[in-house]
Amino acid sequence: MSTLQRDPRDRVQVLDDDGRVVDGAEVPDLDDDDLVEMYRSMRLARHFDERAVSLQRQGRMGTYPPLSGQEGAQIGSAAALGESDWMVPSYREHGAAYVRGLELHETLRYWMGDERGNSLEDLRIFPVAVPIASQIPHATGAAWAADLRGNDDEAFVCYFGDGATSEGDFHEGLNFAGVFDTPTVFFCNNNQWAISVPRERQTASETLSQKAHAYGFEGVQVDGMDPLAVYKVTREALQKAKNPAAADEASGRATRPTLIEAVQYRFGAHTTADDPSVYRDEEEVERWKAKDPIPRLENYLPSTPRRRSSGPSPRRCSSTSTGTCPGGWPSSGSTSSGFGTATATRSY
């Protein structure tokens, strides 16, 4: 059974809080290079985040939305994208966009108030969306267009927060996806807070993932601070988006879209303009810090099966390498992750 077919209240996990594989969990098929790259990207994202917050404090950057705590969800999900897949971010996906090939200086440039940091040539990343949930219908529409054009190897991952699920655009975007069966993966970063509003105030529904049933497709809840579990469900959802019949061989009735609720926590402030101490306890933060995705993956790494990557990995599309991205990326039929080797030579 695909993990996507679980009860939405049944949270998918691969690693426990200490980085040990949980009983019965199936570890996703990632080779060591990919795992190391995943780890490296998570560390880099955290480091970038700290630097960005400090640049803002120094008055060298405008308001910035930090991501610390959410690296597992961002890197785990972005790593699952194939080269021909698309990413439709909110405003906090710096780490995910980096995995996809966006240079970090472009992210800085954008948050320093320059639209050119948002001009993501050939990366298959939509521009940063500030109005909450507004990007969701875009993801549905673009995926629908890909489907109408017969581009069967393209699926779309659309990111948004727990707060976004309350907006009409969430409802209409997911409902269209269900009706037109578009290849869209709706990835909800439930970080427990929408600025100062806690998840319970956002909706009375027990889980966010179960909202998928209102639209006739599958919803799944995953431990968003477990990068391997996130990778796994995102990968399965992407595969289903591109080939729903194969994803559910039994019935052949699976539909393309999936709603993933990645349960996680934002360690820092909502943005640099926010002071979370006004609305939440330090104790709560500490509790969630015990699930920090970075030490978790770090603890897991020594116990990997030690497989090397087979064959040449596809390169991350990177403007520093060849300037533009090769039009002919390997097809998403390839099982390789979104990571490549080109970045391994960078030093930070």
Binding site: E115, P127, F176
Partner: protein, 333 residues
């Protein structure tokens, strides 16, 4: 195609010309898709998409769920991906649930991404009053859209223009709000070439030349304006009637040039007066040509009230008597 059909195609109502324009563009370009409420098998509540579903199928003429933000928002996504969606909103009074997607997204993708993504989308909606319809079916709020810089706004007033402006809009790389005056959807017919053609965006049409007073208008108000011009002509007042056709970007050159000759102007629109486009036009004229101005510029418009239910709509809509009076006053001032 039978001869009979060819003859029909040459002599079309405005709504038929819209349909003909859609059909031509859909034949020309596979990326053009039509989506909206009841646009498919039903052919649209005004029959503007009649026959397209049968000709192009469910993948290109798409009945959507009842959700305007969803319609506009998915169309924005489609357009950003590279298609040329032509979403229909059933009545312009129902564009507001999709307003955020129109003004914050369709209008901004190009700037937001510095040209990486554009939104070649044409958002069609029947608009304006006078058809004895229920509440919200008679809106005329073009000023909302002309105030948003990333949008072009077009209102045709003749079948020929409707087809040509629609084709130009669909081929344009940026979003167009295409408002169709439903009062004249079937009011008259006009010869419309069978072949496809475009009418350039941004160019006004002088519908009647005149030397005494310039009258600026668009859409359904063009006809009563022309009627009023004929009526006062008998009194010796020679009115130039300019149909703006594209409201954004506005053809300031034609407006100012006409005004410089006449020194007097009347602006006619259905929308409420305050904040309506007549104010913008007046301000532009006095900026560019104050020293030619001989009289206050008159605004003949709807009133500053919510559009009434139909028992009172005849009092609301500008009609030729009110226009005539304004012309006379302006002429005599």
């Amino acid at each position: 195609m039978s001869t009979e059909q060819q003859v029909e195609i040459q002599n079309l109502t405005l709504v038929q010309a819209v349909r003909d324009g859609l059909r031509g563009e859909m034949q020309r370009d596979e990326d053009v898709v039509v989506l909206g409420e009841d646009v498919g098998q039903n052919g649209g509540v005004f029959r503007a998409t009649e026959g397209l579903y049968e000709e192009f199928g469910d993948d290109r003429v798409i009945d959507t769920p009842l959700a305007e933000a969803g319609i506009v928002g998915t169309a924005v996504g489609m357009a950003a991906y590279g298609m040329r969606p032509v979403p229909e909103i059933q009545f312009s009074g129902f564009m507001y649930p999709g307003f955020d997607q129109i003004v914050s997204h369709a209008a901004r993708f190009r700037t937001r991404s510095r040209g990486r993504f554009t939104v070649p989308m044409v958002l069609r909606a029947p608009y304006g009053g006078g058809i004895r319809a229920p509440e919200h079916h008679s809106e005329s709020k073009e000023a909302f859209y002309t105030h948003e810089a990333g949008l072009q706004v077009v209102v045709p007033s003749t079948p020929y223009d409707a087809k040509g402006l629609l084709a130009a809009s669909i081929r344009d790389p940026d979003p167009v709000v295409f408002l169709e005056p439903k009062l004249i959807y079937r009011a008259f017919r006009e010869e419309v070439p069978d072949d496809d053609y475009t009418v350039d965006l941004g160019e006004a049409a002088v519908r009647r030349e005149g030397e005494d007073v310039s009258l600026f208008t668009w859409g359904a108000m063009t006809r009563p304006s022309l009627d009023a011009a004929e009526a006062v002509a008998e009194e010796g007042i020679d009115v130039e009637v300019v149909d703006l056709r594209t409201l954004s970007p506005m053809d300031v050159e034609t407006i100012v040039e006409s005004f410089k000759r006449t020194g007097r102007a009347v602006v006619v629109h259905e929308a409420p007066k305050t904040g309506g486009l007549a104010g913008e036009i007046t301000a532009t004229i006095q900026e560019e040509a104050l020293y030619h101005q001989e009289a206050p510029i008159a605004r003949v418009t709807g009133f500053d009230v919510p559009y009434p239910l139909y028992a009172l709509e005849d009092y609301y809509m500008p009609e030729h008597a009110r226009i005539e009076d304004a012309i006379r006053d302006t002429h005599d001032a």
